[in-house]
């Protein structure tokens, strides 16, 4: 009964993974027909390359910053959407949109919004006299601003998913609990930080682990907005692997870069399964 599922996983996940591993320890280039085993040479060369180290650092900054924003924002949204109010259905739908819409379309929209010449953000800022008219911020051109931009756009994209998970967690807390806190004399923040958020930790954990996987392995937003630029300042590991391996034809090095993601993702996947298991048992 399990055979089709196993076959499917082997064909679509196992084979490419194995191939990546084989490439990573060989000297394959796009168009080459030979294969020589080179051991860990690719890894060593990748580790020495400054652009790899920069991409690794960027990946970590990108993931950590966006996940902090997602968790804070997701919890705030969940708290707002949990209670009944007029138009809640509409607001819930709108909140979900960035997740439901294809990420490429959303990102292209943001590319225009943040464009150096036609940016509506700059147009507004200029008309509010918040930035000088002839040197508005270069959202995607300045290294720091570009990083901030890709983090914000990625946050915009994955926030709804975290919100939905967290909302489920918030709704699962029985009404008695916050009421008991009120009777026990706890104020809003004491209730939030000592009772409800600790009760939600397993759910927050799930949202975070999904978020890490989505962020650490994703390059869509960066590819569309900045292509890793300016000067590789927003290059992350998945985009570097893509540029090196596919566009730069160095399949071996690209494979080596992407395999660097593996240990971290294995760790995350393991924690995810453990959390899920604990949630089932508890």
């Amino acid at each position: 009964m399990l055979a089709p599922a196993i076959l499917y996983v082997l064909a679509l996940v196992g084979a490419p993974f194995l191939l990546a591993f084989v490439y990573a320890v060989g000297d394959v280039k796009v168009g080459s027909t030979e294969y020589h085993f080179v051991g860990l040479h690719n890894f060593a060369s990748v580790l020495q390359s400054p652009s790899f180290r920069r991409a690794l650092r960027n990946s970590i900054v990108f993931t950590v910053c966006s996940q902090i924003l997602v968790l804070v924002g997701g919890n705030i949204l969940a708290l707002v959407l949990k209670d009944a109010f007029r138009g809640r259905r509409l607001i819930r739908f709108l909140v979900l949109l960035p997740w439901v819409a294809p990420v490429s379309i959303g990102s292209i929209g943001w590319k225009w919004i943040l464009d150096s010449l036609y940016s509506v953000v700059n147009w507004m800022l200029i008309h509010l006299h918040l930035v000088p008219e002839f040197s508005p911020p270069m959202w995607l051109g300045d290294p720091t601003l570009a990083m901030i931009s890709v983090i914000l756009v990625h946050t915009w994209h994955v926030l709804p998913f975290a919100t939905v998970i967290l909302l489920a967690g918030w709704t699962a807390i029985p009404r008695d609990i916050p009421e008991a806190c009120a009777v026990d004399g706890a104020g809003y923040f004491r209730t939030l930080f000592q009772i409800t958020i600790p009760m939600l930790l397993p759910i927050i954990n799930v949202a975070l682990l999904f978020g890490i996987v989505f962020t650490f392995t994703d390059m869509t937003v960066i590819y569309i907005l900045t292509r890793g630029g300016p000067y590789d300042t927003t290059q992350v590991l998945p985009s570097l692997a893509f540029f090196t391996g596919i566009l730069g034809s160095d399949l071996a090095e690209g494979a080596a870069i992407s395999i660097f993601l593996l240990p971290l993702l294995v760790l995350v996947a393991w924690r995810m399964l453990r959390t899920a298991h604990r949630a089932e048992v508890g």
Partner: protein
């Protein structure tokens, strides 16, 4: 310690709809165990939640210790509440649960742990302090909830059906424990239940509620022996009071007062004699409940139930007709339209 008063307290959930609580005037006494009794949907829990400050009254006043507390938060009312689910904090240990209200009061650590230990020992859960709620039995959880309520030294305890999650056997012992607990701490308790046995057994006074209104307030003996209307008469007692219509009144008598007349009994002016045709019998070990209908006479065909000690009578077959009687002094009279209690009328 304080008394709780409500004045014309009303709660309507949706505008224009029937009130969940309608014009309730209540006054607890010092250190009293006051039970709010009613079927589900009678408004007793809403009333309790308004006293706790968890629900805002639509109109009327709530006074605790003589002060109007309508605009005060639950914290400022200095009440403690035990929820039906106990609402223990699942991620905290028993100790963490008990000290939580004290932390909120910003009591120093050493003091609050001493206090928690005191409360835990009083309730016999001193050895469970390091456990988490899910590792406790239902009875233990209830005691943790009580300890958490107790450490704050509240002016009033509010309890919302705290025994309904326990199995029948545990419930009886938990009931007794709760009574002892109340006697020891001597604080006013307002206790919500739909279980008349709990109400009768524990209450100093019982407030019978129905459809958001208070139908009767009195001691358990009072509400049982002198019900204010047909609702109270039938809600209390199992099986409920027999009600037989007679002209403009309804006559009520308790099943235990409907006893066999015996073969030698002469018709007497102090008793009302009835012939009963039995349909069904329940044997409950210590007692026997006979279901039947009046055969002949003025009340022909009316249902009547008799509750007899099991030792009293041999089993009666279905369809057999036997003479029964009720002492006239035990008869209660109700208005047949309003259901309210009224003075006796002569019946031959």
């Amino acid at each position: 310690m304080a008394i709780v008063q409500t004045r014309a307290l009303t709660k309507t959930f949706r505008q224009g709809s029937v009130g969940a609580v309608v014009g309730v005037d209540l006054e607890s006494r010092e250190g009293e165990f006051l039970v709010l009794l009613g079927p589900s949907g009678s408004g007793k829990t809403t009333l309790l939640r308004m006293i706790a400050g968890l629900e805002e009254p639509t109109s009327g006043e709530i006074l605790i210790g003589g002060i109007v507390v309508n605009d005060r938060t639950p914290r400022e009312r200095r009440i403690a509440m035990v929820f039906q689910s106990y609402a223990l904090y699942p991620h905290l240990t028993v100790l963490g649960n008990i000290v939580f209200p004290l932390k909120a009061q910003k009591m120093p650590r050493a003091d609050r742990e001493k206090k928690a230990q005191w409360a835990a020992d009083l309730l016999g859960i001193g050895h469970l302090l390091a456990r988490r709620p899910r590792e406790l039995s239902g009875g233990e959880r209830q005691r943790v909830a009580l300890a958490r309520a107790l450490v704050r030294e509240p002016t009033v305890f509010l309890l919302d059906e705290p025994l309904s999650n326990l199995d029948a056997k545990l419930r009886a012992s938990a009931r007794e424990e709760l009574e002892q607990f109340q006697r020891r701490v001597g604080t006013t308790m307002i206790y919500v239940t739909h279980d008349q046995v709990e109400a009768m057994a524990m209450g100093d006074r019982v407030v019978v509620m129905h459809q958001g209104r208070v139908r009767q307030i009195g001691t358990p003996a009072d509400v049982y022996d002198n019900p204010a209307d047909t609702f109270v008469a039938t809600f209390l007692g199992s099986p409920p009071m027999n009600l037989v219509p007679a002209d403009k009144v309804v006559i009520g008598f308790r099943p235990e007062h409907l006893v066999p007349a015996g073969s030698s009994a002469e018709p007497s002016p102090t008793t009302l004699s009835l012939l009963l045709r039995f349909e069904n019998e329940e044997y409950l070990g210590s007692e026997r409940i006979l279901y039947g209908r009046v055969a002949g006479g003025r009340f022909d065909g009316e249902k009547a139930v008799s509750r007899l000690p099991a030792t009293f009578h041999p089993s009666v077959g279905s369809g057999s007709v036997l003479p029964f009687q009720v002492e006239r002094s035990k008869l209660k009279f109700f208005d047949s339209e309003t259901g309210a209690r009224r003075g006796p009328v002569p019946i031959e």
